[in-house]
């Protein structure tokens, strides 16, 4: 009987963003099912049973740190997946790195999460990549020169992306070409004042790197205030709920993301179908990224070529195996870790079809 | 007697349209006991509130020992030596009896904040002194056995005594008593009168007393002022007041109840 491999899942099950935690948990459990069906993880010719140690970090930094410490020092996890949001992932990453335990965050885009931390990885692309991708796309596609941005100042993901977009856009069209740069605060539901400003700024396009629930409100309110021009978003739009909450208002809009659910093929489609069948809705990007993160973990473990039984050494081995992964075909794109913890991967531009599906439109690679 | 110890000159005060006190004058020498009577709503309590700084007088001036005190905040006035009790018992519900008395020493505390944080020996010594003084005062009021009780649960009579003890603990030179015997039975009334007398004699206090119980006023006070509608309608010795027709009309009534 081989020893059990424990994988820690540090997820936001309660608190501000329970939806994120739920997606994480579901995806991880689906992965576990697969592993169990296969009779365990085959490493170096041996099959190891796998166990998930799921902890709720309550969307709080200190709780995430406690959970990380607990699963690393108490439960003895080999790898930790999560936390998702940077607010939790940055401090938890510090813990993982201190204890020399590999951690992979599927969703955190803050550069600090992985910076100077050899043991911390992520499965998503970073803001400095996505911002220019979108700026280029809009420029080429619409030939616009004036853009407006609306983002949440209190949340690091939208804020970071907004900044990189602005920088890229102004690099393309000169200073002042972002004619309105407006913000709001997390949990706001009324954006009329900002949208009125944007409406009157002469912008040709509105970029809003917000989460799906806000997207619905922003788009609807923009239309109610007479905005008829395109609205473009980022990977955070990539949830089935975007369309179910937003309805017709969102049809025809573009956003960049990791994968396109509609028209997806192969593994991506299989994952989506399976998830939808099980949980009743199309998985969002968090779930998809978590799925990829789990597979990355699996691959890294398998790549070690065998476990020694000494947790410390195994963790070290898994880390170096993960750092060597190249051209990993995830459902959210192809990933390569070249030394650092950040993958280089491609983005896709998705268009929301007139049936409300996410259609592949274009692909953009670094 | 030299110049008056507490002097109020031409004081008036309005509440909205209501003139609660009009052109009020008062002079008390140190060590005198004065009475202030008058029908309900005449403005007696308001006079107290004005002297102690709880309200700022609309007109007029107040001097303590020749120093102008109107406009000072209440705690400054109190630490200059004007202390009082309240008609409707304003005690600190959750504090014990002895804490009431100790706290009234506040203005006399010499140790600084920092000493309180660290608990320096100087601080401890001074706290012990304060405690001792407080216990002595409780003894005098006959409530030492209640020292560690929370006032909330005390009977009314005891609460009145706590108020008085607290007022004395500020080491005043003049004490303003607002109906100190309300709600007391005749036996307790006699005790309170005794306490007032002792405070007056032993501590050399000047006292200004509001009362509706004539027995108390007439026996204790040297001179009495009668207020009606905010204005003084009569002033004099107890006999003079008792026989003053205006006072009888407005306040005492023909057949006097004691």
């Amino acid at each position: 009987q081989a020893q059990t491999i424990k994988i820690g899942i540090n997820a936001e099950l309660t608190g501000d963003i329970p939806k994120v935690g739920e997606g994480t948990k579901f995806a991880a459990q689906m992965w576990l099912e697969d592993v169990k069906a296969a009779g365990g993880l085959a490493v170096g010719g041996k099959k190891y049973p796998v166990e998930l140690v799921i902890e709720d970090n309550e969307s709080k930094a200190e709780s995430a740190v406690k959970a990380a410490t607990k699963m690393i020092t108490e439960d003895g996890v080999l790898v930790m997946v999560g936390p998702q949001a940077s607010k939790q992932a940055v401090p938890a990453g510090g813990i993982a790195n201190n204890y020399k335990t590999p951690m992979i965050t599927p969703w955190s885009t803050n550069p600090d999460t992985t910076k100077d931390r050899p043991f911390v990885f992520r499965a998503c692309f970073l803001d400095p990549f996505q911002g220019p991708v979108l700026a280029n796309f809009i420029t080429q596609e619409f030939k616009f020169t004036k853009a407006a941005v609306l983002y949440d100042v209190a949340s690091d993901y939208p804020k970071g992306l907004a900044e990189f977009f602005k920088k890229a856009w102004e690099g393309l069209h000169g200073p002042g070409s972002v004619v309105a740069y407006e913000s709001f605060t997390t949990k706001d539901t009324d954006f009329s004042s900002q949208l009125t400003k944007i409406n009157n700024s002469g912008a040709q396009v509105l970029f809003t790197p917000q989460y799906y629930n806000e997207v619905a409100l922003i788009v609807q309110q923009a239309h109610q205030l007479g905005w008829k021009k395109p609205i473009v978003g980022s990977d955070s739009w990539g949830s089935a709920e975007t369309v179910s909450l937003c309805g017709k208002d969102c049809y025809g809009l573009f956003f960049s993301t990791h994968y396109a659910a509609a028209g997806a093929t192969g593994a991506t489609k299989a994952f989506i179908d399976r998830y939808q069948k099980k949980h009743g809705y199309v998985p969002d990007d968090v779930a998809a990224l978590t799925w990829d993160a789990m597979l990355l973990v699996q691959k890294a473990i398998e790549d070690t070529g065998g476990l020694t039984g000494d947790l410390k050494k195994d963790r070290e081995n898994v880390r170096s195996a993960m750092g060597r992964i190249t051209k990993f075909k995830g459902i959210t794109g192809e990933m390569t870790f070249s030394g650092g913890g950040d993958p280089s991967k491609c983005a896709v531009i998705v268009r929301i079809s007139d049936k409300g599906q996410f259609e592949f439109y274009k692909s953009a690679c670094p | 007697m030299t110049s008056p110890f507490l002097q109020v000159r031409n004081m008036s005060h309005d509440f909205g349209g209501l003139r609660a006190v009009r052109d009020y004058n008062l002079e008390i020498g140190s060590g005198q006991i004065r009475g202030l009577i008058g029908p309900n709503g005449a403005g007696k309590t308001t006079v107290f509130n004005l002297i102690t700084g709880i309200y700022k007088p609309g007109h007029g001036e107040i001097f303590l020992d020749g120093r102008k005190i109107d406009g000072l905040p209440p705690h400054r006035i109190a630490s200059l030596g004007v202390s009082r009790t309240f008609q409707n018992l304003l005690l600190w519900r959750h504090m014990t009896v002895i804490e009431h008395v100790k706290l009234a020493h506040y203005s006399k505390i010499r140790y600084g904040l920092f000493a309180a944080f660290i608990g320096t020996p100087g601080h401890n010594r001074e706290e012990a002194e304060i405690e001792e003084k407080a216990v002595r005062l409780l003894d005098m009021m006959g409530i030492r056995h209640l020292a560690d009780q929370v006032v909330l649960n005390l009977p009314y009579g005891a609460q009145r005594r706590v108020e008085m003890a607290r007022a004395l603990a500020t080491e005043p030179r003049i004490l303003l008593l607002d109906e100190p015997t309300a709600g007391m039975n005749p036996e307790e009334l006699v005790q309170i009168m005794e306490i007032i007398r002792r405070a007056h004699k032993e501590l050399g206090l000047a006292i200004l007393l509001i009362e509706h119980r004539m027995k108390v006023v007439m026996e204790l006070c040297e001179r009495i002022q009668t207020l009606d509608f905010g204005a003084v309608i009569a002033e004099g010795t107890p006999e003079e007041i008792q026989n003053n027709p205006r006072v009888i009309d407005a306040y005492l009534g023909k057949e006097r109840a004691i």
Binding site: - | H75, Y111, F117
Partner: protein, 437 residues
């Protein structure tokens, strides 16, 4: 009144046997309990792991086995057995055996000044915590955060409990302290994006860390002026929203300060807030707050709470009192914030929001108003409960609130309210049993 025995002889006998068993323990001074606890934690250190494995637990159950029991109910008897063998029995026996010794030592300690006696007890307490926590880093972390929670709760109790205002700005004070201390330590000692290269050698750091914390506390105190000054003119509900507005202002301000990296937060604080440091600061905090609230100046807080007008008329300078309460409370909140930042080694404005506020408020009111004991109990029990019930995931956030509601219903001012912490009384030897000849 011995001799009389009613009808329910059986249960009566049981009770009296229990009383007899308990009786010797009424003579145990605090020191004795400390001895007992030290024996238990040492035992765990020496024999915990083998015993746990023997009982079928993989490791030493880290927080008294709650999470093990919740995850795997089959193991409940094992965990209980473990707890009894490691903690229950040894503490009971050791404590019982050392009664005369402990009383003797306590009595001789009592001949020294209070500070010495207290220091000796604290040293022992630290030893216990240290040995207990050393088993696992998780314990250390939980302990450090719990101690910080104690500081926060206590400092909020100064304002909300002792002075009776409903202040909502505590996370704001904490944020000010956290950011100020972090900016100093990161800026001066860490090569970071903040102020370029480190300007002071890292070796100096641990010595200057207290300075950074104190500065953080002072900045928090300064922020508290914005709440304290309006409190001169208004109270209660109105002050509550002034303080709430202050909280939002601080949060929004930090979000807008690019200098501290806005919503991305500051990371990379040096790892100086280790267990002894946090313990020491907590002791300082408890000590100074306890001294203050027991002194006559401190009692002025209660008077302002119960009746401000009467306080004013009784020579109490109410403005000064309010000012002191806010600044002092904020100071300790700021220090706690600084420590928090260095335990987490990351701060983010999102850490200091409404959720955080709800948590400290819960700790204060659960533990008990106007009571140092209460704050300690409240902070410790809610922090530990939060950890212990982790396996329940979502349902944890139904159970804990329910528990709090129950406590509020049966003890509306909290578990241990209006109780003074009298150090001398707590530490004194108890040579003679009460009521025995």
């Amino acid at each position: 009144m011995g001799g009389e025995r009613g009808n329910g002889a059986n249960s009566e006998r049981g009770r009296s046997r229990f009383r007899n068993l308990w009786k010797p323990y009424s003579r145990v001074p605090l020191l004795g309990w400390f001895f007992g606890a030290l024996v238990a934690v040492t035992l765990e250190r020496l024999a915990g792991t083998p015993l746990a494995q023997f009982l079928g637990l993989q490791k030493i159950p880290v927080l008294f086995g709650f999470s093990v029991m919740l995850k795997n109910p089959v193991l409940i008897p094992n965990v209980i057995l473990y707890t009894l063998i490691i903690y229950g029995v040894p503490t009971a026996v050791a404590t019982r055996l050392c009664i005369p010794l402990a009383n003797g030592i306590a009595a001789s300690l009592f001949r020294f000044p209070m500070a010495v006696t207290a220091a000796a007890h604290l040293a022992l307490l630290y030893a216990i915590l240290h040995v207990w926590a050393e088993i696992s880093d998780y314990r250390v972390l939980v302990l450090r955060l719990t101690l910080i929670a104690v500081m926060l709760t206590l400092s909020l109790n100064v304002i909300n409990g002792y002075m009776g205002e409903f202040s909502c700005s505590h996370p704001g004070f904490m944020a000010l302290g956290a950011y100020c201390a972090s900016v100093l330590t990161i800026g001066l000692f860490v090569n970071a994006q903040l102020l370029g290269t480190a300007s002071l050698p890292a070796a100096l750091g641990p010595f200057l860390f207290p300075v950074a914390l104190i500065l953080g506390g002072l900045v928090a105190s300064f922020g508290a002026l914005f709440v304290a000054i309006p409190s001169f003119r208004t109270r209660g509900d109105y002050l509550a929203i002034i303080s709430l507005a202050f909280l939002f202002i601080v949060k929004s301000l930090i979000e807008n300060l690019e200098f501290v990296r806005g919503p991305r937060g500051l990371s990379g604080q040096p790892d100086w807030a280790d267990l002894p440091t946090v313990f020491l600061w907590t002791v300082l905090c408890v000590w100074s707050i306890n001294n203050f609230v027991r002194s006559t100046i401190g009692k002025a807080l209660n008077a302002v709470r119960d009746n401000e007008m009467a306080a004013d008329a009784m020579t109490v300078d109410t403005r000064r009192t309010k000012m002191v309460a806010f600044l002092f409370g904020a100071f300790w909140a700021g220090v706690a914030g600084g420590l928090f930042a260095h335990v987490m080694r990351y701060v983010n404005p999102g850490n200091f929001g409404i959720q955080n506020l709800a948590e400290v408020l819960a700790m204060v009111y659960f533990g008990g108003l106007n009571s140092v004991y209460g704050s300690i109990v409240g902070a410790v029990s809610i922090s530990l409960l939060g950890e212990a019930l982790r396996p329940l995931e979502i349902f944890k956030w139904i159970i804990i609130p329910l528990l709090l509601i129950l406590v509020m219903i049966f003890r509306p001012t909290g578990l241990i309210a209006f109780r003074d912490l009298d150090v001398a009384n707590l530490l004194k030897p108890k040579p003679k049993p009460d009521g025995e000849g």
